[in-house]
């Protein structure tokens, strides 16, 4: 948690989050570990189960680090499909922390 002061990292999710997008997404997020993260979900038209796992896993990791992870500007499709998946929580906001 030495890098808490680093600038907020931003990731823009690609429109189709399917089987093939999962590993690249995981790698992308891994590289940004240790920094507060803003995930731009405005482009997402399709959210698959594997990418959902990656996002949930990222949430867990970010929570471990005590760093915030926020989904920003989620597209309608993203929210709708997230809801269909049982609407798991992806955002993480550590207590008292701010970006």
């Amino acid at each position: 948690m030495s890098e808490t002061d680093t600038n907020v990292a931003e990731v823009s999710l690609c429109p189709v989050l399917d089987l093939q997008a999962a590993e690249p997404l995981r790698a992308e997020l891994m590289a940004l570990r240790g920094r507060p993260l803003q995930v731009d979900a405005s482009q997402v038209s399709r959210l698959g189960g594997l990418c959902l796992q990656v996002l949930l896993s990222a949430r867990m990791s970010w929570a471990e680090d005590g760093l915030p992870l926020r989904i920003e500007q989620a597209s309608e499709g993203f929210l709708e499909q997230l809801a269909a998946f049982g609407a798991p929580q992806i955002d993480f906001e550590p207590e008292g922390a701010s970006l």
Binding site: D18, L19, Q20, A22, R26, G49, Q53, A58, A84
Partner: protein, 804 residues
Amino acid sequence: MDPFESIKATFFQECDELLTDMESGLLAMEAGDDDSETINAVFRAVHSVKGGAGAFGLDELIRFAHIFETVLDEMRSDRLHLTDEVAKVLLRASDVLADHVAAARSGGSVDEGRTLGMIADLQGLIDQERAAELGLDGDGSDDGADEDFGFVPIVLSLDEPAADAPEVDVAALMAAATAPAGAPPQATTAAPAWLVTFRPKAEMYAKANETGLVLRELARLGDVEVVVDTAAVPPLDQLSAEQAYLSWTIRLRGEATESDVREVFEFVEDDCELIICRDGEPEAASAETPTVDDPESDAPASAVEAAAAAPLDLEALLARVQGEPAPEAAPPPAAMPQPVPEPAQAAPKADPANMDVAGLIALAEQASLDHVQAAAPPAKTEPKPDPKADARAERTAAAAGATAATPTIRVDLDRVDRLINAVGELVIQQAMLSQRVFESGLARSSDVALGLEDLELLTREIQDSVMAIRAQPVKSVFQRMPRLVREVADMVGKKVRLVMDGENTEVDKTVIERLSDPITHMLRNAIDHGLETPEEREAGGKAIEGTVRLAALHRGGRIVIEVQDDGRGINRPRVRGIAVAKGLIAEDAVLSDDEIDNLIFLPGFSTADVVSDISGRGVGMDVVKRSIQALGGRISITSEPSKGSKFSMSLPLTLAVLDGMVVSAAEQTLVAPLSNIVESLTPRAEDVHLVGGRDAVIRIRDTFVPLIDVGMALGFRDEPLPPASGVAVLVESEGGGKAALLVEAIQGQRQVVIKSLEANYQHIHGVAAATILGDGRVALILDVDALVTTSRRKAPRIEKRMAV
């Protein structure tokens, strides 16, 4: 391509096959086959189309398929009996379904009126009360429940940063067990509910199935509450992106039956763990859960047992086992009295080498779950005697039987083409090598020469096998025809029965693709021009329903397609009159019946007085003939007044290789297709006669046939070859016409690889294609039919000249 699009493309490919299966099943039914297997096959096809359409949200298609399927289901259950009328309606419904699929594929829309009319017809087959009962009047599916989710489970333990990774994971594991228990107790409400526990495996994702689609499909069946279990998801650094960690518990309320629910999972059931049980029904539920008496001790014990095999952090395991009773005993949201192996739902099947303790525990649980599930099946089927379950088992068994029969793979055609091309080059190279060896003066019995012979045999075998890969039954083309016939018959107000024969005749794919147009045209022609109207037929003492026969057969290394009708036959005086009126032949030309019949292939010939929509657009049969000739094929006609006519077209089985006779004329090497050659002879000067002082004929035994000097016909030289100094090759054209080709010498017989001249240069009259010979030179392949017909067609012209 977008992967989603490519899955969709695969779906449409499958649709094509399914629609084809459906149509052949329906045709069998039309012919009176009311075997339950046939009806089942049709039902399955429609059902699979509907299922796939559901995954892509093609609502129009789903709605129509649903109604269609319901009618078929009525037949399956013997509530609706097969009659002629029913079969006809079903056939038309299949056309509409095909339209819907086509519209979904191209993004277009279907004629609403036609669909509604068809739906009304389908409903008409079932009596009204029953239709209402089945919900046929409304739309088939119950949409709009997607947004109804009761709660969001939150995995609390994750929010506290932990020092030690294994401990975190154990906590996560515990949370998995407790989270469902913390769900609001909104169980048993008035509507019956299903509780579905669904845990995809990595294989499911790998096969491009998507949980989201399955869940969406499930939501169509009624109100759903979806709870996702995220407990097994590891931190990012331990996550394997293509493993499956999530599992879902879905409570479904509504009228859906178990088979409805199972149908949703039809395409993924092998690649996921699936438990479907009645919500709040202890008996049904217990049938799905462990059959052990004391689960509190037994389940963990089996976990220990299974885990003992793996090198495991004992402490972690102990923590696990100690923590076990509480969460295990806590009732999951289903309020089931028996524990469900909930935490195991999301256990990853990870590689033991880089797995942490939590992973191992999960594996241990996995083992116990597997153990449980292995014991479950017998208990699963017995307590609930579901008649539909039997039907389903029957269906899957039948499907399994069908798939077991012919395992196939889909290969990109381009790959096959590359292979065929490469093998073609191999054949050429092999021929060149043989020739080099021969030229080097090695003895025919030398080891090298013998080895080459073996190589040649092998090459030939490879080539045959490769060609067989691309060979396909003409079925794919034939199957489109019944619909065409129905439509054309409706349009012209005639009753037509199409009889098809030899659908399994195989021919190269490149040929198949180009068969469709000529066959379509010939069928239209047969129905529009060949068959009489029902009144005329009745007056002529024939059955009101005309018969058109479409047949495919192999003959002499070629495929022959025949279109035969039992109509009025060719009206020869009329054909002749038209030909004279259009200046195609001289008024006083003397033509045999056969020659008159063949006049209809002349460009610009059309007998239709009124240009109809269907055929007779002024293009007529000459277009058919040209397109067939472009394929290296021929077309001929035989006709008998008031009995009907028969068109036969003959095509090479492949457009890639050819057995040929290598001949030389005017210092050029040429190849004559072996299939055309009848015999060869050395002409004697006294057998050759000149007709009209110019055209030579040769007497062969008791007949005279035209003698064509190939060198002159192709313009290689201007002076005729003295017949006695050459060799005459007697050839027969597809129409049966014979001619002798005069060449200088015959070099031998060889298999040649066809290189299209049209593709590389342009079409040349009298030349079908080209090939590359062993010495690397290009040789032209003779278009025997063109050479023969040219010599034939000259005849009327000469007469004309003489008449002037």
